[in-house]
Subunit: 336 residues, 2 copies
DNA sequence: GCCATGTCCTGTAACGTTACAAGTCCGCTT
DNA sequence: AAGCGGACTTGTAACGTTACAGGACATGGC
């Protein structure tokens, strides 16, 4: 490995001068700079970022912990975050938690991750009991789903509002018997994605004057297969459903498939609304009406929050919460 | 920051003993180990991986350079690679190249990336002229698309065979006039994905005795939108097409949408085959027949290739190529 | 002509870890 | 009783970089 030592010797200057050239410090004569750059080129020198990190106490790497990058929403998120992190000079290291609590705890605790500059933790399955672990001097931003009593930096989504938008839209389009899959009826303290979207959905139904009998909200795995199975079971049990809200677009795609398999036409027989507005939504047949978060704005918020904290631009006890707005994008799946 | 020094002092042993405990070296008395572990717990010590990396000369981080993790194929790939890398003790840092040659060159050249242990470079837009950069002592595995004359570790896919499979299948299902979008007619030296799949497609057509007039292979962006636009333009121009092969499933999804918009039914009027077999394929309506690489096997090959090289388990001049097999998965889009 | 100021360059000492070689102690063999 | 080998422990010197303090020299103001 070529070191600064080698370059310095080759160029006839001190290591510090090489360092100053590499780091574009002022006060280096043009002639000296040229000499050093020539030596660097000739020897094929690359700065050793590990040594730099050790010396400077920062690595320039932020860890992104998501369930799986292959899921459309998280893929989109990761894409945006990687791009924005790069713009601020950080690399993103992706850690997959499979949405399991133990793996999320791992991400926080694992020593090696502690050596990076910060952690963006998405899709949190942690309990309030675990939240203490998130506290401390290590920069963490919690993204998207769960808000703890703990003081923490948060980027949230208007999940409840989105659920209400979906319910209102279905009602407005004439649906009389509406169900949700991928939702959960939880206590007032439960604030995960599925519970919040369900809560919004139910309040939206109430506001529209639609009945919400008990079976109308069904939990499911937030996967294609989960959507298909749960939708299928739902339509086996209940008659006369003419509107369906799915907790995510992925679930909605599974549900659309289940409806097709039963010979139900969308939107004529059943209208369907998803959530996330993934790029794919407009290319499906029928294209999918969806609650659209502003992904770009949220990604901006995440990166500026974590970078500001890493760089000490915010006081240690100054925790922020950003809630991204949502809007409804109407497409064929709810056409009247 | 708590260091080994602090732990050593607190436990009344030397730093080396702390290091030995942390690294689970033998020859540490149980009582000593317990003392050290207690001190570690009490002080909340975490090993500083940056210092460890500097000392050991390796970081445990592999860079994965893909166009964008949000594209279904690359998302799936990234998911599998992250998982398998973790199993071998490596973290994966994701770099996005946007499929641009300059950004790919960047990934190779950027100093900071040079400090990681290896690079997995996917979807390569580099010329043969650039290939020299890939040579050298830095562990690189080139994935999926382009095979250079340069000696390099490669993981390829049976692109040509896949194209032929698709053509054969369409012919066998009774298609008489078949086109491909997302393909390119290139010289014999051109070996990128689009050219190879097109070449296989044409040879498959020939074998089946089907005409391949000139306009039958159309290039396009490998995106949803590209698929839609190109398919739309193609069916504007040519009459009587009854079979369509798309270079990727993403393109196929765009094409399916275009066909629906024109009132063409799949598979009754036009049969469609994609390539990649992304999970989504079976949930579309109609579900999509696709050429399926064995993603898991390829991911295994990639990780063991790069890890073996990083760990020096293979001679410096012993370059390997692994070609992943493909098979055709028949679904509704080509039902007869 | 002298001090102040600025430009350019350099030596030294860390950053926190581990490789290596060199101990110390103990019980056991001969 | 001396010698030996094994179990356990430790000091020291790196790994390659940058922060810091300071040195050498020239310029300019009075």
């Amino acid at each position: 490995m070529v070191t600064m030592q080698d370059v310095a010797r080759h160029a006839g200057v001190s290591v510090m001068t090489v360092s100053n050239v590499v780091n574009e410090q002022p006060h280096v004569r043009a002639a000296t700079r040229a000499k050093v750059l020539a030596a660097i080129a000739e020897l094929g020198y690359h700065v050793n970022t590990t040594a730099r990190s050790l010396r400077q106490g920062r690595t320039g790497v932020i860890v992104l912990a998501v369930p799986e990058v292959d899921r459309p929403y998280f893929g989109l998120l990761a894409t945006l975050l990687i791009e924005r992190a790069a713009a601020r000079g950080y690399d993103l290291l992706v850690e997959q938690t499979a949405a399991r609590r133990d793996r999320e705890l791992d991400s926080i605790a694992r020593s090696r991750l502690r050596s990076y500059d910060g952690l963006i933790l998405s899709a949190v399955q942690l309990h309030d009991d675990d939240a203490g672990l998130l506290r401390g001097d290590f920069p963490i931003v919690v993204l998207g789903e769960r808000s703890f009593a703990e003081p923490l930096d948060h980027v949230l989504m208007a999940n409840e509002e989105g659920g209400a938008l979906a319910a209102g839209h279905l009602a407005e389009r004439g649906c009389r018997r509406v169900a949700m899959i991928g939702g959960r009826i939880g206590g007032p303290d439960e604030i995960d994605l599925t519970t919040l979207r369900a809560r919004g959905f139910l309040s939206g139904l109430a506001e529209a004057g639609l009945a919400a009998d008990n079976g109308v909200v069904r939990p499911t795995d937030l996967t294609f297969e989960g959507g298909r199975e749960t939708a299928s079971a739902l339509f086996d049990e209940l008659d006369g459903l003419d509107g369906l809200f799915c907790a995510t677009d992925v679930v909605a795609i599974g549900a659309l498939r289940a409806l097709t398999d039963r010979g139900l036409r969308v939107p004529q027989d059943v209208k369907v609304v998803g959530f996330d507005d993934v790029p794919l939504a407009s290319f499906l047949s029928p294209s999918l009406t969806s609650v659209a978060p502003d992904h770009a704005v949220m990604a901006d918020a995440v990166i500026s929050m974590i970078a500001d904290r890493i760089e000490g631009l915010r006081a240690a006890d100054d925790y922020r919460t950003f809630t991204g707005a949502v809007r409804l994008v109407e497409r064929e799946s709810t056409a009247s």
